[in-house]
Symmetry: C2
Subunit: 407 residues, 2 copies
């Protein structure tokens, strides 16, 4: 029996040591990439806010991105979906060029004032950087899956400063309705390391307010449930709108580089008509305000439309920070009608719209706890599980497979 | 399309409203049962501590429990495993007598000084109470599964005051290596309601210290990983010892009621030899001390042995609070050798030994965050995922099925 146990633990120890090393490297790569990305993104955003006329260049920026991907990036155009596809049915190591292309594409998008996020960029950089180890370590198919999941976790964890949410996001994102634990160690190790490396580079994250929580009652339970349902519906609208706009552009404009050019014209015109730059870029200032003061009730819809247009037309970035914006603004708008405080509803929307759109409720609950404190955890749990249930089976990542029907 | 969407959402809304109602009832039942149980347990514990001679009655208590279950409880002897079996392959509605039997059995165990926990009791009460709705609502097989999972979540959430951990525990506990989301709404609703009902009855929970976290380094990462591995090994030792002692008693003593009688003699003798009552009952005072001062290095081993003897012989209760004790004492003992503060290691052990023994790492991470604050979340994540990996495929619940191999 001792021999059998030792044989088992020998394998396990080797596995753990091996993945401690691999995840450390993945974390260092993804964390460094995220740090550089966050610094550059910050610079680009500050510059744009100081020179709003740059938005007139959005169509040009779109053309640039379009040409970049048309000439150099056909193999990596799939973005996040390509990563998920490789987890499901491994084909070939992701080209390293995915990293500079998505980085440059995202920075151009934000520089010229598109409305987009950053998790797609971080996740693609994390995944593609991690995948470069596949050849050097001659990983087999199964191990490569763990590596890709670890890369996703590392990218997500480091760009938002949320290691637990990042780790679980990687485990949760490729299947709807089911979570598999075989990558649990690589995910947690890579997420923790990546987050640490980003912080070690001196790159910080926004501090969100710790949310005060009212004493629980049937009224607050009902309010939380109702809000969760609305969050789920809107996350479905977001995913459907983005997919539809993307299909429309593909159908109407045959030459790919022209799609973001035309999209850039539309977005720039809309922003000019709106007369405010609040709805472009990441939108972090508005997100922060959603915890403090009432926003216009239509704020979430504007952000939804501009983001769907930006990403549907072929600009780069991600969906998550705009989803935070949409959710927080929507929660803010729901506050007068529900028996919960405005900041709490904003925080619930922040995580729950994302939970519904990405079909990752557990990662979003953990994110809520990491960003806003565990006191509100129960409300995040209710909002995320209802949003997940009401967001349909087709989220923002079309390569997600259905592991189990939601209901 | 509108018709199709409406048809989909009609089903979903009915599902949500139905389960809002059902989970509310489940939560009220389980929460009330837990409240009563916690009050009685507290009374029993206080009385025992004031009259330590009562321990001489432990064999008698054992005989009483044995006779109770032999005469009245043959159908519910399986306890937690019976619940898990019913989730996997539904046979028949759980007899309501499961509730008074496990309640009385647990109170007798603690009254006479056995070393046991309380989650088994709460989970069995929650599950059996919930299952009584099956007939009244004429639930089908699939819905009954959701009901049982909700009952487990409600019992766990309310007895520990941790709604998020309770909700995820119910989802996570019946399969190793895989988590299914179809019960996510019933679980969260029932857990939140049950926790609220217990608190509404005026029953509070122990407040654990918020754990201070050192700045992260490779040394602390290595320490956390090493500690996680040790926690996993000990959780395996605990499960194996309990199973083995149980098998031994079954093999050597044919008449079931005599098993806890003999077990009671052994436990009472051991405690008399030890000359302290610190290792019997729940052991909450020692758990609290493990965050504040060094404990004897052997404390975890004594608690492990006494609990395995108590439960293996057929006393009632649960494994979880003793696992908290074992983990916290072990973390405390590891502190001098590792580069992490003692309270943090105690907290990591508290959740991680349980994570390994029950194969529920995500619930345990959430529990860590709910009890000790989210600042230490990253350490809980590392400790729980490593403990889960190193605890083997046979945990404390032998009816758990392997959904996916751990490695």
């Amino acid at each position: 029996m001792i021999t059998r146990l030792w044989a088992e633990y020998r394998v396990l120890l080797l596995f753990a040591i091996r993945w401690l090393g691999i995840s450390g490297v993945v974390g260092a790569l993804a964390g460094t990439a995220s740090a550089g990305f966050l610094v550059a993104l910050d610079w680009v955003t500050t510059w744009r806010e100081a020179h709003p006329w740059i938005m007139m260049g959005l169509p040009l920026g779109g053309l640039l991105i379009g040409l970049l991907y048309h000439w150099l990036g056909k193999a990596v155009e799939g973005g996040n979906n390509l990563l998920l596809d490789e987890i499901h049915t491994p084909q070939a190591v992701l080209p390293l060029r995915m990293v500079p292309l998505v980085l440059l594409g995202t920075l151009l998008t934000h520089f010229f004032g598109g409305s987009a996020g950053r998790e797609g960029t971080a996740v693609q950089m994390g995944g593609a950087l991690a995948d470069q180890l596949t050849r050097g370590l001659s990983l087999r198919r199964r191990e490569r899956r763990l590596l890709l999941i670890a890369g996703i976790s590392a990218g997500f964890a480091s760009v938002f400063g949320t290691p637990l949410a990042g780790a679980v996001f990687g485990l949760e994102v490729f299947l709807i309705g089911r979570l598999r634990y075989d990558a649990i160690l690589p995910s947690f190790l890579a997420a923790v390391c990546a987050d640490w490396v980003t912080r070690a580079w001196g790159v910080g994250h926004i501090a969100y307010p710790v949310l005060a929580v009212p004493s629980f009652s049937l009224l607050s339970l009902g309010s939380a449930a109702l809000a969760g349902i609305v969050f789920g519906l809107i996350s479905r609208v977001f995913a459907a709108t983005t997919h539809r706009i993307s299909r429309f552009f593909k159908l109407k404009i045959a030459y790919p580089p022209l799609r973001p050019l035309v999209g850039g014209v539309v977005v720039a015109l809309l922003v000019w008509l709106l007369g405010t730059t609040e709805y472009i870029g990441l939108g972090l200032p508005v997100i922060l305000r959603s915890f403090a003061e009432p926003l216009p009730v239509y704020a979430f819809a504007l952000k939804l439309l501009l983001t769907a247009l930006t990403l549907g037309a072929g600009f780069k970035g991600g969906e998550v920070t705009p989803l935070f914006f949409i959710g927080a603004a929507l929660g803010n708008a729901l506050a007068p009608g529900l028996a919960l405080p405005m900041p709490l509803l904003a925080g619930m929307g922040f995580v729950a719209v994302f939970a519904g759109a990405a079909n990752t409720p557990l990662a979003c609950i953990l994110m809520g706890v990491e960003l806003f404190g565990h006191e509100a955890g129960l409300y995040f749990g209710l909002a995320c599980s209802l949003s997940y249930l009401f967001s349909g089976h087709r989220g923002i990542y079309s390569a997600q497979m259905i592991g189990q029907s939601k209901h």
